[in-house]
Symmetry: D2
Subunit: 370 residues, 4 copies
Amino acid sequence: MSEIGIGIVGGGYMGKAHSVAMAAVGAVFDTGLRPRLEMIAASSEDSAERYRRSFGFRRGTGDWRQLVDDPDVQAIVIATPQALHRDITEAAFARGKPVMCEKPMGASLADSEAMVAAAEASGAANMVAYNYIRTPASQFARDLIADGEIGTVTWFRGEHTEDFYADPSAPASWRTSGEANGTMGDLAPHMINAALALIGPVTSLIAEVETVHSERPGGKVDNDDQAQIMCRFANGAMGQMHFSRIATGRKMGYAYEVHGTRGAIRFDQEDQNALWLYRADGPEAERGFRKILTGPEHPDYLPFCQGPGHGTGYQDQIIIEARDFLRAIETGESVWPTFRDGLAVNRVVHAAMTSSRGKCWQDVPTDPSN
Amino acid sequence: MSEIGIGIVGGGYMGKAHSVAMAAVGAVFDTGLRPRLEMIAASSEDSAERYRRSFGFRRGTGDWRQLVDDPDVQAIVIATPQALHRDITEAAFARGKPVMCEKPMGASLADSEAMVAAAEASGAANMVAYNYIRTPASQFARDLIADGEIGTVTWFRGEHTEDFYADPSAPASWRTSGEANGTMGDLAPHMINAALALIGPVTSLIAEVETVHSERPGGKVDNDDQAQIMCRFANGAMGQMHFSRIATGRKMGYAYEVHGTRGAIRFDQEDQNALWLYRADGPEAERGFRKILTGPEHPDYLPFCQGPGHGTGYQDQIIIEARDFLRAIETGESVWPTFRDGLAVNRVVHAAMTSSRGKCWQDVPTDPSN
Amino acid sequence: MSEIGIGIVGGGYMGKAHSVAMAAVGAVFDTGLRPRLEMIAASSEDSAERYRRSFGFRRGTGDWRQLVDDPDVQAIVIATPQALHRDITEAAFARGKPVMCEKPMGASLADSEAMVAAAEASGAANMVAYNYIRTPASQFARDLIADGEIGTVTWFRGEHTEDFYADPSAPASWRTSGEANGTMGDLAPHMINAALALIGPVTSLIAEVETVHSERPGGKVDNDDQAQIMCRFANGAMGQMHFSRIATGRKMGYAYEVHGTRGAIRFDQEDQNALWLYRADGPEAERGFRKILTGPEHPDYLPFCQGPGHGTGYQDQIIIEARDFLRAIETGESVWPTFRDGLAVNRVVHAAMTSSRGKCWQDVPTDPSN
Amino acid sequence: MSEIGIGIVGGGYMGKAHSVAMAAVGAVFDTGLRPRLEMIAASSEDSAERYRRSFGFRRGTGDWRQLVDDPDVQAIVIATPQALHRDITEAAFARGKPVMCEKPMGASLADSEAMVAAAEASGAANMVAYNYIRTPASQFARDLIADGEIGTVTWFRGEHTEDFYADPSAPASWRTSGEANGTMGDLAPHMINAALALIGPVTSLIAEVETVHSERPGGKVDNDDQAQIMCRFANGAMGQMHFSRIATGRKMGYAYEVHGTRGAIRFDQEDQNALWLYRADGPEAERGFRKILTGPEHPDYLPFCQGPGHGTGYQDQIIIEARDFLRAIETGESVWPTFRDGLAVNRVVHAAMTSSRGKCWQDVPTDPSN
């Protein structure tokens, strides 16, 4: 067991989550590498100092370059707005430092591609922080599908729906400006990442992306409120997706359904500790979707609690993520989803935006090395 | 109160359901017209006699023309395979007799159009038997949306999914042959009818229709297993639909979600006595989807039971339908969905099939008189 | 197949339900005996005539004795207030006519005992109309338990809770007067009957029965609002029950949970088409309560619908009941629950009332012939 | 902000949970006092060293007295078997050190009473670690009831049910020996604590406590498998409870239902991020239990996540608990539930055991100072 100095860039929503995760992960998972909260960078010295005190870092800085350069910062977590992802990443990899970057990587497809190149050139551990797929339930769903437990997959439906902009009188903000902050930029990548993880590559799609409320108090809206996709997976399965920030009543509608020839799976993040499994076996009269409560039998649950059904939460996903990043650093082998995996998500998003503009089916370039 | 002689053509699944409904409807709804089970027609004299005895009709016949011609048969319910719908309908209307026809009307769009023409030329009451939309819950959903209770609708998702052909080793049968018996022909019309009823006309769509298991024990399959649609409604809302007979685990997956600017609705026919309503009002901390159990306060529930939450079932939907048909006959005014309304459903199905072949968005002709 | 003349005494809530059931049952179940709605009796000639027309009976009468005496009335359904149950029953059995009597039989334990004596002396078919236990789901639950599918039963929890008197300002009425109309008299028997059917005889109990709102607009309340029971079954299992008419939010809270050494069952009548089954077998990671939707594989479902998950409702329970009564008449063998079975329920209620007054455990006399 | 040296006695299930909580709580809640993981005590030097390394403590010890005496240990968390609770507590309070003790305090009622005396004599902050009641959902339920949002409470039903001993062939262990490890000793206190928190003091009760499987592979069982209670609360409400470790299928069945004159609440820890609320207001047709997902509007949620419905888990409850303990230390004012509050729980348990032996209603002594 040895210590590792962690630097986190950004102290907002996700910066805090990663800070807590780094404080807790050692005790939870008995990790080989033990994080030391070395430095936090923010947009000003003042805010950096505030985050430093609040989250328990040794040092703070208003200049992320200082953090990247600091010899006691041995691994970096990027939790800034997307515009900065590429620069920070490239600087870090130039110094050979491992990076975990918040989704969805670059501010543009070109940025993301550059980030993959930088990561692979450096050889350092790299990871994109898709947290939801790391619940014990979704990890178990992946295993079940990969092991053929529901047979051949014939259908996938996924959604990522929330309602924080459902009210048309909610004022414009930074969230209503810029493609990266729209529904396709901000929410869709989570579910697309899940689709790729659960079913495999998407080969073609057609999408419809729209801004429903184009004017809000305080200004015009220039990014999308909701979108949908019809798609085809490499394994032949048909897929359907929906993304929305105006889905009235939905708070964390990260949900999917998978039909296979011998079973089916349903999951809704709003009840993240349950996975619904249907098996087309046994007497017909006794078949039904079973509500499986996650427990010590499921991936990454036991370190949080010995009792089944006792439940993990949002913060725990980030702790699992931290464990994976530490493991990648320790072993020198990047853990899924790597930057290259993250790029695959971005390509689907890009194809969807293109498709929506042209109102046509679109092929999605797949990565020969994937 | 006066009696009316009912003739039912077809004694299978739906023929029986309509027979029971006609036997029960008078006592349930205290109808002005009281059905007398006058005659049932089947494909042979033997089967007709069997149905007659079993369902309690006065007479049976192996020839539907005899039923249509019989002077004591004053109203006709068609529950045959779709290939016969047009002929029977035209014969009935030629004699000025009211007709309730099983969905989805004609075996082709041309047949359906001819049936509408015949119905309107005759002036007789005409109705298409879409039963699921008649649950108290779905009727209430229609009312809520029409009354603006959830604000402006921005999103609709509907599905009609079952799993009777999910097992690839289930043998070929009449169900796996002929477009009318495929998923788009047989299941999709129910949910498309719901979409039109809840949200309004569909103006354009793109669809993907596919046969997943093209060979089954006993023969080739020439109709579709599953399909999906992206669409736009006349009121601007975006829509998404899915239809399947291979949706492992789904038994009666007639389900929809509607997002509005001030609320949302969710319904799943597998729990047909509950409607989920979200209202974006009151304190944020107390908001949530409420599970409303149908009861005497909801449309057409009270005649079945005075107690809320006591529940109605499949057969009750057919009884409500029978009441509507009798009312239409009595008042001389056809009740929704008329043949013209049924045609609108068929046009959406037709556009979807066309779209899937061309892989392009398709306009759906709307009826100026609708 | 032959006709049988049915006489129903009472045209209110349950009188109507039985009338509809008798009109529909023949076609639904293809019964050997086919009911003819011969005569309905009510408290006045006027109301009897109104019911006659509305429900489709041949004749009506303001005097139930006339109905009992009529030679064309060959079987009798009693749906009057409980005060009349004994007199009508005794008159009917004196003429050797089969009787189906609404629960919970007599207005007192003595009345119920006399009714059992009369029934058994006559040898005519006799049945108590406990409808809820006849859903396909609850019949299936009985089968599962009886077949040992959940192992040895260790625990039973049951409730019958509604909220029609939850509002303290709801006015006094006939329902708030007389023990028979209180919660123990009116609601509890349903769930006690279920407990006996699912688990077996109750041998001892302690109860707490109370009137929460003893004054209501319009008068004093002299019967109970809610009650609870702790009990022991003959097979050693422990049990817990709760009954309430002031259970705010509960509409049809007829619900039970059964724990066995190898599985468990959960049911709630508010979603009467689902039975929840847990099996303690297979991999731990895949265990969970499965939601089984009733379908053709379950008892008495298929005659209502060929499709699973399509659902039966309240009225269908009464139709199943009618089928059982007709079968009992046809075979000459009474069908569960007979009057003697009904008496067993009443004895539990009686013991509970006694226990509550004395605040002590009470033995429940069991019937040697049961 | 200042540091405080934390000593934890015990490194098993709960010792780990408290260790993680102390590592994370500062960053989560931006606490005034910041825990330093100073020392962990275990039953041997070896295990203490193992825990020290794994959880990140500075020092470990095989002797809890050393921990209590250490000047750098300023606050103590007790997570040992109950037999040690009293001794450690008394030693700690003798040194004026604040104590958070795992539930249910002492190994006997006398021990618990002595612990209360010691706590109150010392004046140091004291708290019993009832974690489940600290979910945002249950805290919100407390608020709703306390604020009269559901009117006058008329009924409470609570259960704490799990199934870790449902299988009769599960071998005997430390858990099957000693009253403190039985269901009444180990599980019941959680739900009794909830009952007291939600509804108020219990004044009388009758209980039934039993060992269902008295022999297991490896030995006899001398403590209870399941139990139930009927009770009366000081405010007049009736209550019903059930506790079980043999509740097949239940994993974390900490669940309650509360009926009030104007609303109702339902909660089940197996879906700990949802609270079900029914309000008897608004149009009857729109009433139903609403599923409220916890979010930033609910107590103690926001520090874990800004998004509603994103969910907290088991470990987060312990973090909330840690925050409360630190706040108590900082302000010098003990936070609910204090040792005195914990004693009230133990008195209910004690009365239940007495009642079960005598099979009689039992008064529960309430604390004049409570």
